[in-house]
Amino acid sequence: MTHITLSARSWQGSGRLADITFRGSSRIAASALVALLILIGVLLFATSRLTWETFGLSFVTGQTWDPVAGVFGALPFLVGTILAASIAVIFAAPIGIFTAIYLSELAPRRLATPLTFMIELLAAIPSVVIGLWGVFILAPFLRLTVEAWIVSVFGWIPFLGGPTYGIGLFSAGVILTIMILPTIVTISREVIQAVPGSQREAMFALGATRWEVIRRAVIPFARSGIIGAVILGLGRALGETMAVTMVIGNKDAIPASLFDQTQTIASKIATSFSEASVGIETSSLIALGLVLLVLTIIMNVVARLLVWRVAEPVGGR
């Protein structure tokens, strides 16, 4: 840490005031960041208080959202959010983890570098652009191929049958998968590369194939970090707005099937907020936001704690 050096030397007379000002203003800036975080929570709570006072915690379990009747319940959106995010994690976790394994353990350097680059680029594509592509290209494609196939093979299972529109929960799940893959891949790759070479050596020396080394020495060592990566991906999936809004169908109801149209918290806020009447409706939308905020912050904190544990290894660097 360089701060010891700096604070001990500032005894130049004329520079003293400037130093204090500089230090002070940088401190303000840093505190502003922390304050911002707190402020977000506080403001969202304050402006949604009406809803909490009216419905209490049953807001979270309420099944009806009817501005006309003045009844607001978050459950359909909570369910939609969790379902869409779960689909995304179920697909993205194995693909992402295997990709991370490939990039850090198996691929030759000449291949790994451009591939990693491309996956990072995927993360940079704006959500609305992916949403546009999702609406006009991906959703119709899914309807004709994957969704049709699932229904034909598994349609007898209640949740997996029913009409397929393309636009709906499943497409939202797939689009979320695409969007959280870079997160999972990047962080998993980091934690896998942090596994000490001596662990791999030990397993190789026992007479193990490369896959066995990965499976028995590398992955167990990196396990908590990989879980952290997946949870971070989950957190991102929970909060993703634009792409989901454009392909999920925006129906305020718990989905009747995997292909039904539904709504997430983020998409509900996105579609209804600007037309909402100030008062209980706006307050309830903000309350929805607060629920989402709590969810994502919890995911984020848990995930980062897990990742830090592997990235800063046992016994120090």
Binding site: Q199, A202, F204, A205, L206, G207, A217, P220, F221
Partner: protein, 292 residues
């Protein structure tokens, strides 16, 4: 006690003590009769990292059921050479080997040889103990067995206990087999790694400075252990600790670095010879401490 070194032609000189007589030097043991397994013959071995030759023209024989020590200054390719004996150097990309290494007559670099199978027969212990931290002591020892699909608890238990006994660790850990592999002291961890290597029943055990990260007492225990192990296994140990080599090994090979920065074998002989009557001037200089 000072000893004088008389420069003399290397082919014809009276025995000159090069260091104070070390009572720990035992005469070389005769080659055991049932030595059918664990003999390594190295011929004209060269190791390249890319275009750079790291090890030059090694030809030597590792006698079975004996301890062969490889000594020499740092950076002269001792570890690199050791790793070519179980093809561990292949983990580093762009590494290449020329020449032959024969284990009991079989060329280990033959295209039909599976390095995975080779490493079961030729095991390795590393400089820093590296037990698997996510596994218990029990799981660490049987890790190699599980690779070959042996899962029956009875068999695993038996091999585990036998290996831990052979590694002189059983009494210390028998009550805490389920605790993590890294919960032991450094010396114990290294013995755990040795037990782990023993569990797969190798013929040869390669040790790359196994005690250099340990305190003197733990080092001594490892050395005692190695002396016991040699009755059943061939041991090749790389060490920069000359006294250790003279204490425990039957044969010693002295490596050094040539002008082209590649390592080469200067001399190999029984330990007694190397330390009391080496044939090469370079060897004599090294073991008498003339240069680092």
């Amino acid at each position: 006690m000072t000893t004088e070194l008389r420069p003399a032609p290397s082919t014809d000189r009276p025995p000159v003590p090069v260091m104070p007589p070390a009572p720990a030097l035992a005469p070389a043991r005769p080659e055991p009769e049932d030595a059918t397994t664990g003999r390594i013959e190295i011929e004209a071995l060269n190791v390249y990292y890319g275009a750079f030759r790291a090890v030059r023209d090694i030809s030597m024989t590792v006698k079975p059921h004996a301890i062969t020590a490889i000594i020499g200054p740092s950076g002269c390719g001792k570890s690199t050479f050791l790793r070519t004996l179980n093809r561990m150097h292949e983990l580093i990309p762009q590494t290449r080997v020329e020449g032959s290494v024969r284990l009991d007559g079989e060329d280990v670099y033959d295209p039909s040889v599976d390095p995975v199978a080779l490493r079961r027969v030729v095991g390795m212990v590393f400089q820093r103990p590296n037990p698997f931290p996510t596994m218990s002591i029990y799981d660490n020892v049987v890790a190699g067995l599980r690779l070959t699909g042996r899962h029956r608890a009875a068999e695993l238990d038996e091999v585990m206990e036998r290996s831990l006994r052979r590694a002189a660790l059983w009494d210390e850990v028998k009550d805490k087999l389920k605790s993590s592999g890294v919960s032991l002291s450094g010396g114990q961890q290294q013995r755990l790694c040795i037990a782990r290597a023993l569990a797969v029943d190798p013929e040869v055990i390669l040790m790359d400075e196994p005690a250099s990260a340990l305190d003197p007492i733990a080092t001594l225990r490892i050395e005692e252990l190695m002396a016991e192990l040699r009755t059943n296994y061939t041991i090749v140990i790389v060490t920069h600790n000359m006294q250790q080599a003279s204490r425990i090994s039957d044969y010693t090979a002295f490596f050094t670095m040539g002008p082209d920065r590649s390592g080469y074998l200067v001399e190999m002989d029984s330990t007694v010879q190397i330390f009391t009557n080496p044939k090469q001037q370079l060897t004599e200089d090294y073991v008498s401490g003339r240069f680092g």
